[in-house]
């Protein structure tokens, strides 16, 4: 039985796998970084299918948005394409990377196929889905955490004013 969920999952999963392979194989680091953005977006889609709305949104805003912009800035400022390939300079690191990759891979294989699920995992999963919805987060923000929420607004305002002051072009 093929449901929409399975189709969507296959699409997102294929995108995620293909892009993550492309991230490590591309020579140009900027192209790698752009594929990483795509990878994050695909992962966000998978989170959404798992009903983890908040994590999906945060994945897009924080990882695919803010952190990748930072990545790109650093790459463009440092201009690593003029430098030698990292692995050519440190050949031993290639083996280290390989070992870490293999260990993580088999760990995941083990937990997915051979690990024992704890008996309460279904209850906990339901609970965590409840917490992760937009409704419950919105309710929390506007009731219990109203004051911290408003205070965070003033924090961002101060940061914005500061950035403008420090970046002003003319200093008369």
């Amino acid at each position: 039985m093929i449901t929409l969920q399975i189709i969507l999952f296959s699409v997102f999963a294929i995108i995620a796998v293909v892009t993550s392979i492309l991230v490590v194989t591309r020579k140009n680091p900027i192209i790698s970084a752009l594929f990483l953005v795509l990878n994050f977006a695909a992962l966000a889609g998978i989170y959404l299918l798992l009903n983890a709305q908040f994590i999906a949104v945060v994945q897009v805003i924080v990882y695919a948005g803010a952190i990748m912009v930072l990545f790109l800035f650093v790459i463009m400022l440092l201009r690593p394409e003029h430098e030698k390939n990292f692995f050519e300079e440190n050949p031993k690191m290639k083996w280290l990377a390989l070992i870490v990759g293999v260990v993580v891979f088999f760990q995941l294989i083990y937990t997915i196929f051979f690990g024992k699920l704890s008996s309460s995992i279904h209850q906990n999963a339901e609970k965590s889905v409840e917490i992760g919805t937009i409704e419950s987060i919105g309710r929390g923000l506007f009731t219990t955490y109203l004051i911290p929420f408003e205070a965070a607004g003033f924090l961002l305002l101060a940061a914005a004013i500061g950035a403008l002051v420090l970046a002003k072009k003319h200093f008369d």
Partner: protein, 472 residues
């Protein structure tokens, strides 16, 4: 609806920030009216805080505490900030950072301090800490043309972000152990069971993070460079309001935690922190020629004295810290006020040499600086003496007499470099004493600080009674 009126001081400041932004946007010469608007906002918030201090309570789902000690802190921050504005009016024009945003950022910093001292939940502690710190990073680097100012801002930002990381990590571990971030539930957790190792590590990380903010040794590395590089009135603000706010947050979190710990394992830790902080600050300050740097090390030493009160952890300790913070705020503001006035356009004339023979040419200014130096050294009848006195008494009550003795030794050492400034001003003469641009606003601010230092030194009992009324 009633809850909204309980936090009126906070509303005044936050409304003030928005109003100042609008003024800044539409009025070309906002630099001229913004200082007065800021003073009005700060004074009304300070006045209202004192007026409603008797109305104690916890509001907004136990996020914020109002009334009592919290409002005493509100008063210290706001009144101190008003004095800083007075000191800044002419100073920022002189050093070429004449922008309206300066005052808006100051208001934001005060708002952050108020969140810190009023917090009843670790989330509020974190947001207040960040709000205050972000404003300070920017104010430190406000003078973009000076490389030392830029360097100081970057250093402060990187180390400050690092310290915030420690604080957040500590909070996360505390949440893991307790299951809640609200401070009452943390103390409730401690009543029922002995703290788990996760909780202890979390609290340790929290203390380490805040040690950065209060400039305790060995987390003090940033202080001399940042205090020296920042515009002088910003340094005044940072070393008084910033320190008072960080201490108030430590009191808010640690006092309920310590009072519910069956066996307080943190006393030796805090005692050691206090000893090395006092001695390091006092001894290294002797070697300083630059007055701003000297006061930076002196501020490290003063943090050490206040940690004594924290280690004692009793009611007198808390009262002593609050009195000490108030006294320290006004004497340090005054001292930095005089320095900011003597400082020249190009940020020179902050070294000891420049003060040679100042008393002959500007007797009033020299007399003011003498009052503040005596007060900082802890010589009666000025406020500094009673601050130290109350803190040391609390240590003796808590069977930490050795800590009080080391405190007395350290303040005897520190008297040397404070009095050296007085000696240079009065007993050395020079053919070419420096010129000081008079600033009547700054002079008014210095006068008010001197008056408060004197009043707090002459009538310490009534102020202590007021504070202990709210502590108890």
């Amino acid at each position: 609806m009633n809850e909204i009126f309980m936090i009126t001081p906070l509303l005044i400041i936050s409304g003030g920030i928005l109003l100042s932004l609008i003024v800044e946007m539409f009025y070309k010469k906002s630099e001229i009216i913004l200082p007065w608007l800021s003073i009005a906002i700060f004074i009304s918030a300070a006045y209202y805080s004192l007026l409603t201090a008797y109305r104690e309570g916890v509001v907004f789902n136990s996020m914020l505490a109002v009334g009592g000690l919290v409002h005493i802190f509100y008063f210290i921050f706001n009144f101190g900030a008003a004095i800083v504005v007075l000191l800044s009016i002419d100073h920022i024009k002189k050093v070429g950072i004449y922008f309206g945003e300066f005052y808006i950022l100051m208001q934001s910093a005060v708002l952050g301090m108020m969140f810190l001292s009023g917090a009843k939940d670790l989330v509020m502690v974190f947001i207040g800490l960040e709000q205050m710190s972000v404003c300070f990073y920017i104010l430190t680097g406000f003078n973009r043309k000076r490389s030392s100012s830029n360097e100081a801002a970057l250093k402060y930002f990187l180390l400050g972000a690092f310290a915030s990381g420690f604080v957040v990590y500590g909070m996360a571990l505390i949440y893991g152990a307790v299951g809640s971030l609200s401070i009452p539930s943390v103390s409730f957790y401690l009543i029922n069971q002995s703290p788990s190792i996760i909780f202890i590590v979390g609290l340790l990380l929290f203390i380490i993070g805040f040690s950065f903010k209060i400039a305790a040794v060995p987390f003090h590395m940033w202080v001399p460079d940042v205090y020296q590089g920042a515009p002088t009135t910003v340094t005044a603000f940072m070393s008084t309001g910033g320190k008072a706010a960080a201490f108030s947050a430590l009191l808010v979190v640690l006092v309920p935690v310590f009072s519910n710990l069956a066996k307080n394992n943190f006393i030796p830790l805090l005692s050691v922190l206090a000893v090395i902080t006092m001695l390091y600050g006092s001894i290294v300050a002797i070697a300083q020629i630059d007055l701003k740097r000297m006061l930076a090390y002196s501020s490290i030493a003063h943090a050490g004295y206040m940690i004594i009160g924290l280690a004692a952890g009793n009611q007198n300790g808390v009262t002593g810290i609050v009195f000490y913070l108030a006294a320290y705020t006004f004497m340090n503001l005054g001292a930095f006020g005089v320095i900011s006035m003597v400082e020249a356009k190009d940020n020179s004339h902050v070294d000891l040499q420049s003060y040679t023979g100042l008393a002959a040419k500007y007797p009033l200014l020299a007399a003011m600086l003498t009052i503040f130096m005596f007060a900082l050294a802890g010589i009666p009848p000025f406020a500094g003496f009673f601050g130290k006195y109350f803190v040391f008494i609390s240590a003796i009550e808590a069977n930490l007499t050795w800590l009080a003795i080391i405190g007395v030794i350290s303040s005897a050492i520190s008297a040397y470099f404070y009095l050296r400034v007085v000696v240079v001003m009065y007993f050395k003469s020079t053919d070419s004493p420096i010129d000081v641009e008079p600033s009547y606003y700054a002079l008014l601010g210095i006068f008010i600080s001197a008056l408060l230092v004197l009043v707090m030194g002459l009538f310490p009992n009534s102020i202590i009674q007021l504070i202990s009324f709210f502590v108890g």
